[in-house]
Amino acid sequence: METLLAVTVGILIGAAVYLMLARNVMRFIFGLVLISNAANLIIFTAGRLTPGAPPLIPEGADAPADVVANALPQALVLTAIVIGFGLFAFALVLVFRAYATLGTLESDRMRVAEPDEGAAP
């Protein structure tokens, strides 16, 4: 399964890169969601996979009885998901606002900060 997930990560990244390179920045946002998932899966997979058993300590025990899933990557992924959401939300609002302000979502027509010297303003 780890192999499968590694391949999945690759596909997620490939698609994300393809999306992020699009002219329309909305596609960048879509790519961002995909690549964040890929990064989370990298961490999760790198912590190795344990089917089943969540890292919970049963009542009456001091530690998990059997082998349970690696808790640390889970905590990291959880943190990364929330941070990723914050970043995503800002990026989305930025794109939204960019359309309201610049009138386009196509990045090659966003030339206010770095005007094209050849073109008329």
Partner: protein, 751 residues
């Protein structure tokens, strides 16, 4: 420029007082130096870098110090009248005084790096002084040119000084000057020499780095008198003289200095004669002098070095005087044009007298110091080890031209018949402006008559310093008998007077000639344009304002770097071990991949969002299957919010593609695929290594007994790694604030 009613107040007086006090101090040091040879004081500055404020007062530095502070005093005095009531006089005085102090620091430093510090300070202050006429484009251009050319040399020199210090094991001149043989044998000697000379030649305006100096005449005349005759331009000469004991004596040294000096001297002399602006003419004669001094420093003979020492003083005296005289003329008449000026002797008798004395010294007539200097020059030239006739010829030619220029600059404006009306009726300058030229001119005569005065106080010790004590100074005397130098002197007079007689047609010819020659000054603008062009091209190419291009480069860098490193370090995952795979797992993975591809290739926004939702659900299922309920819950909630937010945002956003356009980009797909494959390979390779689980083991065992929580993930979040979580919620808060601010700033919104 002048004419203000107000005086300059403290800003006018203080610089005079400072420089006079310094001059007197150095004067008082003459006996000590004469007695001991060199005084060295050591102050700590940056011991970690072997940089000290250590001072060295020997003949060479004392000569320079006296010239700097002495001429400085007179120039300060002069300036106070010349720029009387100027609104920016305080700044001017500050810059000029700072310059003088920097120059003194330069010649007195015993530490190479400290010397460099002062060197650069003279660069900065002279930049500010040349840019005194900052509101004209020419003034700004000249200032930049001077700064850029000398700055470039200085940076090269810095490298040279660092290498020199490394080779010598010390930055102290006291040490370095004793290590000539070792340095000359060092593997980096050639590099050191080239780099140091780069600094010296640019600062001293040796051809082909000369073109900034005439332009620097944009500065007020007292500045020119001080910086561009007596002091700053001689910093390069000083450095060559200073390092003479260490670096000289090789063919490389000999030929680079001799050729540069000779070419500069001859070229500058012709150039001087071709000028009609008196100040420009003087500027080129300064070049000529610098060339001559360089030429002598190339040699090893006692004559050459004595000639250097003498001519250094001679030139400073008469050139400063003449600059100040030209300033008086300009001040009085409003013009510096040689063809306009004439008959000023009657209106400005004192100025005329000072000009005449200085011009005679410059022309090398006896009994002025200039004559002795010239004699020594010839003696020095003839003592040159190889090709003496070449050197002597160059000196002869430049001396004759100089004589003619002296006539043009200091004789004709005063004594020829006035042909054209002057912009203003001439009048004698006030005494503070006259003091300088007069005193300097008289000194020129005085030293000519009593050369011993100079010989014992300065020249001997200077020669000793320059030669490292190897050679004795030759005697300075007006009459040395009939010898080869005397014959050459006479030839100079004849040739010079001849040239003066035909100087006007000759000037026209020269002007025509130089007009056809490559003008480095003209090339300067071309150079700057080329720099601008290159940088503009680079900006268009790299920083082109196109996000797509930025991102493509960034991802390509990631691919090339990671892929390249894998190739370079032979990193490959072994054949992937499929292991125990359940088909339900495969199905989840297929779901994720399906959602991914859907999101990537659909042209419909809502389909893309749905695809993302599927990916989110699939990833959540991975978390469920592999025992991460907390993560799965969070993932699902976040995914939901993502969909909600996108659905809200898209109400106001346009379609992904314009009508009839497709977004098919095979190149980007290839890049993405390659990158994805690379990451997969790396991840597989990582998964082949064993995982150290000691952190997790600790968390599992400590979670309940020590942190009182049964959900290990949550305990990690709020206790073991609470700081992470704290930073994370800060991200969330700030993301919300930032987004809110973005939505609520009203500026720039389109209707």
């Amino acid at each position: 420029m002048a004419g203000g009613r107000r005086g300059n107040g403290l800003a006018g007086v203080l610089p005079i007082a400072i420089s006079a006090a310094l001059f007197l101090y150095f004067l008082a040091m003459i006996p000590d130096v004469a007695a001991s040879g060199a005084l060295v004081i050591h102050w700590q500055w940056v011991p970690s870098l072997d940089i000290a404020l250590s001072w060295r007062l020997d003949g060479l530095s004392l000569t320079f110090a006296l010239l700097i502070s002495g001429i400085g005093t007179l120039v300060m005095l002069y300036s106070n009248s010349y720029l009387r009531g100027h609104p920016q006089y305080a700044r001017f005085a500050l810059f000029l005084t700072s310059f003088m102090l920097a120059m003194l620091g330069l010649v007195l430093s015993d530490n190479l790096i400290a010397l460099f510090v002062f060197w650069e300070l003279t660069t900065i202050t002279s930049y500010l002084l040349i840019g005194f006429g900052h509101e004209t484009p020419k003034g700004r251009r000249s200032a930049l040119q001077a700064l850029f050319v000398t700055g470039a040399g200085a940076l090269a020199m810095l490298a040279g000084l660092i290498l020199l210090g490394r080779a010598a094991g010390s930055f102290e001149l006291s040490d370095i000057l004793r290590m000539g043989p070792e340095i000359r044998a060092h593997e980096h000697y050639t590099a050191i020499l080239i780099l140091v000379l780069a600094g010296a030649f640019t600062k001293s305006a040796q051809v082909p780095f000369h073109f900034w100096l005439p332009n620097a005449m944009a500065a007020p005349t007292p500045v020119s008198a001080f910086l561009h005759s007596a002091t700053m331009v001689k910093a390069g000469v000083y450095l060559m003289a200073r390092l003479h004991p260490t670096l000289s004596g090789t063919d490389a040294w000999l030929w680079s200095l001799t050729i540069a000096g000779a070419v500069t001297a001859v070229y500058a002399s012709f150039k001087a004669l071709s000028q009609t602006d008196l100040k420009q003419a003087l500027a080129y004669t300064t070049l000529m002098a610098l060339g001559t001094l360089t030429l002598f420093l190339g040699q090893q003979s006692g004559y050459a070095i004595t000639a250097f020492a003498t001519f250094l003083i001679v030139h400073s005296l008469y050139k400063a005087a003449l600059f100040l005289v030209v300033g008086c003329i300009d001040h009085a008449t409003g013009t510096r044009e040689a063809e306009v000026l004439g008959g000023l002797a009657r209106a400005m008798p004192i100025t005329a007298a000072a000009a005449a004395l200085s011009a005679l010294s410059m022309a090398g007539f006896p009994p002025f110091l200039g004559f002795i200097g010239k004699e020594l020059k010839y003696a020095g030239a003839l003592a040159v080890a190889s090709e003496p006739m070449f050197v002597a010829g160059a000196v002869l030619l430049s001396n004759a031209l100089m004589l003619a220029v002296a006539g043009v600059v200091a004789f004709r404006p005063f004594w020829r018949r006035n042909e054209q009306p002057l912009p203003r009726a001439p009048h004698e300058a006030p005494w503070p402006m006259l003091a300088g030229p007069v005193i300097l001119a008289i000194l020129g005569a005085l030293f000519g008559l009593w050369p011993d005065l100079l010989q014992t106080t300065l020249v001997d010790r200077t020669v000793q310093a320059v030669t490292g004590g190897d050679l004795e100074a030759k005697e300075l005397k007006l009459w040395a008998g009939v010898n080869m130098p005397l014959i050459l002197s006479i030839a100079t007079f004849v040739l010079g007077l001849l040239l003066y007689a035909v100087h006007r047609p000759l000037r026209r010819g020269l002007q025509a000639f130089f007009a056809r020659m490559i003008s480095l000054d003209g090339r300067w603008d071309g150079f700057l344009d080329a720099v601008k062009g290159l940088s503009a091209w680079q900006t268009r190419t790299i920083q082109n304002g196109r996000l797509q291009s930025y991102l493509t480069i960034t991802f390509a860098v990631v691919l090339v770097t990671l892929g390249g490193t894998m190739l370079a370090r032979q990193v490959w995952p072994a054949a992937p071990e499929v292991g125990e795979v359940r088909w339900s797992h495969i199905a989840i993975v297929l779901l994720i991949i399906g959602g991914t591809l859907l999101a990537a290739f659909t042209r419909s926004r809502i389909t893309a969002v749905a695809g993302l939702g599927v990916v989110g659900i699939g990833v959540a299922m991975v978390f469920i299957v592999f025992g991460a309920p907390d993560v799965a819950i969070t993932q699902l909630l976040v995914e939901t919010l993502v969909v909600v937010l996108v659905a809200v945002a898209m109400l106001r956003l346009p379609f992904l593609d314009r009508k009839g356009e497709s977004d098919w980009r095979p190149g980007h797909l290839l890049l993405g695929t390659a990158l994805g494959a690379t990451v997969t390979a790396i991840l597989l390779a990582v998964l082949e290594t064993p995982l150290d689980r000691r952190l997790t083991d600790f968390f599992e065992t400590a979670s309940w007994p020590e942190a009182f929580g049964r959900n290990v993930v949550n305990v990690i979040l709020v206790d073991f790694r609470a700081l992470d979580t704290f930073g994370e919620i800060a991200v969330v808060v700030i993301a919300a604030l930032a987004a809110y601010a973005l939505l609520r700033t009203t500026a720039g919104r389109r209707p």
